[in-house]
C-alpha cells in the first residue's frame, strides 16, 4: 500500500512511518535516506535516526537527489520508507550555483515514476504551511514547491495521514487503513517510546 504522511515537526511522524513500513513488509525493508549531511548537527541527527532504526531490519538506500533512481539494486516487491520529501526538495533546489526552479516538477515526476513500479511505500513530508510568518520569496518558493509535491504524492497514495502531536488524522483511505493488517496501528493516538 502507498501511504503519505505529513504533519508538523517533532511530533513522531518518522517513528510512525517506520512502524507502517515495517508492518507492511513482505520481503525486504528499505529506508530511503534523503538528508545530505552538511554540518555537525546534521551528522548528529542522522546518527540518531540510524540508532532509532537499529534492529528493525532496514536496508539503507542513500538517495539525496534523482529519486527516480532509488530502486536500483532494490527488490520492487520490498517495503519502502522515504523520509523525507522535504530534504529531497532542498537538495534538488540548491544543488547547483543557482536555484533550480524546476526542482518541484522534477521530484513530482520522479516520485510518480517510482510509485508506478512498486506496491508498498510510506512517504514522509513536513507540513510547513500554517504559520503567520511572512517569508522571503525564496522560502515562499520552497513552500510552494513542497506543497506541489505533497499534493501529487497524496493524490497517488492510497492512504493519506496527518500526524498532529502523536494524533493520527486519516484524510484519505480511512476504510482501507482501518481494515488492513495495521489494525494495531490505526489507533488515533499513539505514543513514541
Amino acid at each position: 500500500m502507498k501511504v503519505f504522511i505529513s504533519g508538523g515537526c517533532k511530533n513522531g511522524k518518522s517513528y510512525y512511518a517506520q512502524r507502517l513500513a515495517k508492518e507492511q513488509q513482505k520481503k525486504d525493508l528499505y529506508y530511503v535516506a534523503t538528508m545530505r549531511p552538511g554540518d555537525e548537527e546534521d551528522i548528529e541527527r542522522i546518527q540518531r535516526h540510524i540508532r532509532e532504526r537499529e534492529g528493525w531490519g532496514f536496508t539503507t538506500v542513500e538517495q539525496y537527489e534523482d529519486v527516480d533512481q532509488m530502486l536500483q539494486g532494490c527488490d520492487p516487491q520490498g517495503s519502502f520508507l522515504l523520509d523525507s520529501v522535504t530534504a529531497l526538495l532542498a537538495n534538488e533546489m540548491f544543488k547547483g550555483e543557482e536555484v533550480n526552479d524546476a526542482a518541484g516538477d522534477k521530484i513530482c515526476w520522479d516520485l510518480l515514476k517510482v510509485m508506478e513500479e512498486i506496491e508498498d511505500i510510506v512517504i514522509v513530508s513536513d507540513y510547513i504551511y500554517s504559520d503567520s510568518i511572512v517569508y522571503d520569496p525564496l522560502t515562499e518558493q520552497y513552500r510552494r514547491e513542497l506543497a506541489q509535491i505533497d499534493k501529487a504524492a497524496a493524490a497517488g497514495c492510497d492512504v493519506v495521514l496527518e500526524v498532529v502531536y502523536s494524533n493520527v488524522i486519516v484524510h484519505k483511505g480511512g476504510e482501507l487503513f482501518e481494515t488492513n493488517h495495521w489494525r494495531s496501528l490505526s489507533r488515533k493516538t499513539y505514543v513514541c517510546p
Binding site: S130, D131, S132, V134, K151, H171, K172
Partner: protein, 126 residues
C-alpha cells in the same frame, strides 16, 4: 456562506473553482493594502490578507464582513490558516494572527459549510 480554510498552497482555490464551477474572474483576490470588500463578487480569496488590511487601516473586520454577508449570504470565503507555527516575534504579525483567528471563529459559527484542505484533499468540518 461557505468557509474554505487550510494552510498555504493546499489547494483551496482549486477546490472552489472545481467544486462550485466558477471562473477565475468571479474571484476577488484580497490584498493586505485594501480593506474594501468587493461589491460585485461573492468569492473572496486570501481573506487573511484582507484582515491585515483592516488591521493596518484600523477598521473593524467583523463589522465589514457583517455588511458584506448581508449582501451576499451565499458568499464563499477562502482563508489561509496562519495559526499553526511558532509565535511570531513581530507584534504586528502576532496581532494579525489573532485577528484572523477571531474572524474565523465568528465566521465558522455562521457558516453553512466549513471545508479544510490538506495536501489537496478536502475535509468537511461543518
Amino acid at each position: 456562506m461557505k468557509l474554505i480554510i487550510g494552510g498555504a498552497y493546499q489547494g483551496k482555490l482549486t477546490y472552489v473553482l472545481e467544486e462550485y464551477r466558477v471562473d477565475q474572474d468571479e474571484i476577488y483576490y484580497a490584498s493586505k493594502t485594501c480593506s474594501e470588500l468587493p461589491e460585485d463578487k461573492k468569492i473572496v480569496y486570501h481573506l487573511e490578507q484582507w484582515v491585515m488590511a483592516c488591521q493596518q487601516e484600523r477598521r473593524d473586520a467583523l463589522e465589514l464582513l457583517k455588511v458584506y454577508l448581508q449582501r451576499f449570504p451565499d458568499a464563499v470565503l477562502i482563508c489561509e490558516d496562519v495559526s499553526c507555527g511558532v509565535v511570531p516575534a513581530d507584534p504586528m504579525v502576532r496581532q494579525w494572527r489573532e485577528a484572523v483567528g477571531r474572524c474565523m471563529a465568528v465566521l465558522s459559527q455562521g457558516a453553512d459549510e466549513v471545508v479544510r484542505l490538506f495536501c489537496g484533499i478536502p475535509a468537511q468540518l461543518k
